[in-house]
């Protein structure tokens, strides 16, 4: 084994300063295993050393928040004695190296974060971002990632009900795979990770430990370069079958009183799970690695402490309940081993084959973890766009937009995901702005969405951050649900570059302001930095996962319009074309400031739309987002396979700007009594306007331009199957 010195520390990803700090804490040269423990605990992935100062500024409280950030997942009270437990997490780097397994184990990891708290997972979502579709590599990654998400989620029997797919060349060498899981628990039976009870057994359950993913946490904390090929042996393979058994076994055990504390083994495996449990509980731990179930012979202490083998959990049990627990894990054919006990020493002590492999004080490992106030530079404001002429006409632009990779149908993707297992999926993918999943045995349902528009964040990180939260709020409101809380997944480039850190800080400011204004706190999240390839960063991508609640699932509306309805706009269209998809796809420019977000208007309009839906006066609803108003309308028409006749835009806005501007805080409602809706809107100080009527087979514009909805559907559905199959 190599000598421990500064050079080795550097190989492990510790800076000279950080290594000095290790020496100070230990008062001696650390052992190889100890150095491994420090390096993973102080990696960006585990310590949040670059992002912590900013994350602290996010609003995390509300009367309905039961547990905010800091636990394995966020917990909110959704009524009827139920808690929703949810979080989103990235698996970007592993998905680039091995798309199938990277995505699959990403889903597995986030599921464990949720069921470790006592929740039965009821829904998965996935926010995916890929490079230029023209590259063969992109195709291979899309294929692998989608198969991986489905392969894992379908097998564990948790419906995958929503997500996003976008393309941009900035993700060419660094796709983003962000997976979100939502679970439901009795709100009085939430399981936490703080260990307690001197002498209590520390129990390992699940799969055996192999040499998988050693140093995965540090890999997630470095940029890719030409050498990353050589880092490949760290790929972890998921076993969703074992995960399914683990879910059932853990939930069965959680129905007893055996568990004192429980924590999944995620990044940095046994190290981070044991350090976090004992650290939070203010106790110590002694581990004897000889008892760890091992898949391969000859594993060292270092390997076992750092392995990222999947489908494993660590628990502290009441000593008199060990047999109850063992019987349950035996029933499910899962490994169960007592590998240590809780001590009062405040230290983590690791023994293997009679050798003391590690002896580290826990407090300084946490308290003295590096924390960086990295320099930031503000993103310069974009020059105003000015007026842009319409080169092709409205109908031709619509046809192009509706078929482009960023706006075309995602059915090819979600048709590979089981979205109905559980029998509670009220709104499936493609059917509504947010997925709606009922709680088994209740009328109540949750509404779920993931959102961010990276090109807005790139142009103006603060506005873009704000917009991401506002869009999540809108998507939840658009099905009639009350937005309760969000989880975030901050995907950015290299934090040591001031312009990247500036994007991060500004995006957090934007998210925070929106959370406050919309009463939509952050309850969990994840940060993924160093998303760069050969020095080029990705578009800053703070993905927002939103959760809302409906008291009665029957109130939920979808986005498909039907015959004989009036289409009503709620909100103001100013015709904002900066950073719009129209500008990119039709005018070939990626310029201008993103659309401004007026948080007070978001709140007012969202509250109004929701109250109209709950009053039963709305048949269908869709928010205006990517592609603008006409794209939103067209999606409603394609969903219902119905035509419409639309009124002319107002004279004050050029037609293409009116139809394709990406103005915020706007919704399209399909109603049967438009005058009632418009009168109520005006009484509430909410702008409204009649857009047209549904009927027939064609979309008809006021100037006579006509296109059959069937032709639009065909174009909308063309891209993915043609590209992939």
């Amino acid at each position: 084994m190599k000598d421990v010195n500064q050079a080795l520390a550097a190989e492990f990803g510790l800076s000279a300063d950080e290594y000095q700090r290790v020496l100070d804490i230990m008062g001696r040269t650390p052992s190889f295993t100890e150095l491994g423990v420090f390096s993973v605990m102080w990696s960006e992935h585990c310590s949040y050393k670059s992002s912590r100062v900013w994350l602290k500024t996010l609003p995390t409280k509300a009367p309905w928040v039961i547990h905010g950030p800091g636990e394995n997942a966020g917990v909110v009270d959704i009524g009827d004695g139920l808690a929703a437990i949810f979080k989103m997490e990235s698996h970007n780097h592993p998905s680039f190296i091995e798309p199938y397994q990277g995505a699959a184990t990403g889903v597995g990891g986030i599921l464990r974060d949720v069921f470790t708290m006592g929740a039965r997972p009821i829904a998965n979502l996935n926010a995916l971002r890929f490079g230029d579709p023209k590259l063969a590599r992109t195709k291979r990654i899309v294929d692998g990632v989608v198969r991986g998400v489905g392969g894992y989620g379908n097998c564990v029997g948790v419906p995958t009900v929503g997500g996003e797919v976008n393309f941009h060349p900035s993700y060419n060498g660094n796709p983003l795979v962000n997976a979100m899981t939502v679970g439901i628990a009795d709100k009085t039976k939430i399981f936490l990770s703080a260990a307690a009870g001197i002498g209590n057994p520390v129990v390992y359950v699940g799969s055996k430990t192999g040499r998988d993913g050693i140093h995965g946490a540090t890999m997630a904390s470095t940029e890719f370069d030409a050498d990353s090929e050589s880092k490949r042996p760290t790929v972890q393979v998921g076993d969703p079958f074992v995960e399914k058994l683990l879910i059932e076994a853990c939930l069965e055990l959680m129905a007893t009183d055996a568990i004192v504390a429980i924590q999944d083994m995620g990044a940095a495996g046994l190290t981070s799970s044991s350090v976090e449990m004992e650290g939070k509980g203010g106790v110590g731990i002694e581990l004897v690695l000889d008892h760890v179930p091992q898949r391969e012979p000859g594993m060292t202490a270092y390997e076992m402490m750092l392995s990222e083998s999947q489908e494993r959990m660590l628990m502290v049990l009441r000593p008199d309940r060990e047999d109850v627990a063992r019987a349950i894990f035996d029933k499910w054919d899962l490994d169960f081993a007592v590998i240590g006990h809780i001590t009062d020493t405040g230290r983590i002590i690791v023994r293997h084959k009679g050798v003391l492999e590690a002896d580290i004080p826990l407090d300084p490992l946490a308290d003295q973890a590096p924390l960086y106030h990295r320099p930031t530079t503000e993103t310069p404001a974009q020059a105003p766009l000015g007026s842009v002429p319409d080169p092709v006409g409205v109908m031709a632009a619509l046809f192009t937009l509706i078929g482009c990779p960023d706006l075309c149908s995602r059915a090819w993707v979600y048709d590979q995901y089981d979205s109905t297992v559980g029998g509670q999926t009220v709104k499936r993918p493609g059917g509504a702005d947010a997925a709606v999943v009922r709680i088994d045995g209740f009328r109540r349902a949750v509404a779920l969405t993931t959102d961010v528009t990276p090109r807005y964040v790139q142009a103006d990180p603060e506005m873009g951050g704000r917009q991401a939260v506002a869009e999540a709020f809108r998507n939840i409101s658009a099905v009639g649900a009350l937005p309760l809380a969000i989880t975030d997944n901050m995907n950015f480039g290299n934090p040591t570059k001031p312009e990247i850190m500036g994007q991060f800080a500004a995006a957090v400011r934007g998210i925070a302001s929106a959370c406050l204004a919309l009463d939509f706190p952050v309850v969990s999240g994840n940060v993924s930095l160093y998303n760069e390839t050969e020095g080029r960063g990705i578009l800053p991508t703070p993905a927002i996962g939103g959760l809302g609640v409906l008291e009665d699932a029957a109130h939920a509306v979808g986005l498909a319009a039907s015959a004989g309805q009036s289409l009503v706009l709620i909100g103001d269209i100013a015709g904002h074309l900066g950073q719009s998809l129209w500008l990119r796809e039709i005018a070939g420019r990626e310029e201008g400031p993103p659309p401004p977000v007026d948080l007070a208007a978001e709140r007012r309009h969202g509250d109004f739309v929701r109250s109209e839906i709950l009053a039963g006066r709305v048949a269908a609803c869709h928010d205006v987002a990517d592609g603008g108003l006409l794209v939103a309308i067209t999606e409603m028409l394609m969903g219902g396979r119905i035509g419409a006749t639309l009124a002319a835009p107002p004279d004050t806005v050029p037609a293409h700007a009116w139809w394709f501007g990406e103005d915020q805080a706007c919704y399209v409602l399909a109603v049967t009594d438009p005058s009632a809706t418009l009168a109520l809107a005006s009484a509430h100080g909410v702008p409204g306007r009649l857009l047209g009527q549904t009927s027939g087979q064609d979309l008809k514009m006021a100037d006579g331009a006509t296109m059959s909805v069937a032709a639009l559907i065909a174009e909308h559905e063309r891209f993915f199957p043609e590209w992939m199959d």
Binding site: E98, S207, G210, D212, V235, V237, F241, Q310, D333
Partner: protein
Amino acid sequence: MKAVVTVMLKEGVLDPQGKAIGHALGVLGFTGVGEVRVGKRIELDLAETDPEAARKSAEDMGRSLLANLVIESFQVEIV
């Protein structure tokens, strides 16, 4: 000419399928079954008549498509 490409998971990579099969064989009453590993056998009919050229071509196929070299390795046999 027929080429057989055998693709197996690399040493140390978890083989969930093999594990489950091993377990099921135990349930069926087969004793003394240790590790089980599952791989693929891909039989290719090749127009090529020169064995060395056929081998080279099958090896190219293995590298570029048949095996995922991140987690798998492969062998070629000409029969």
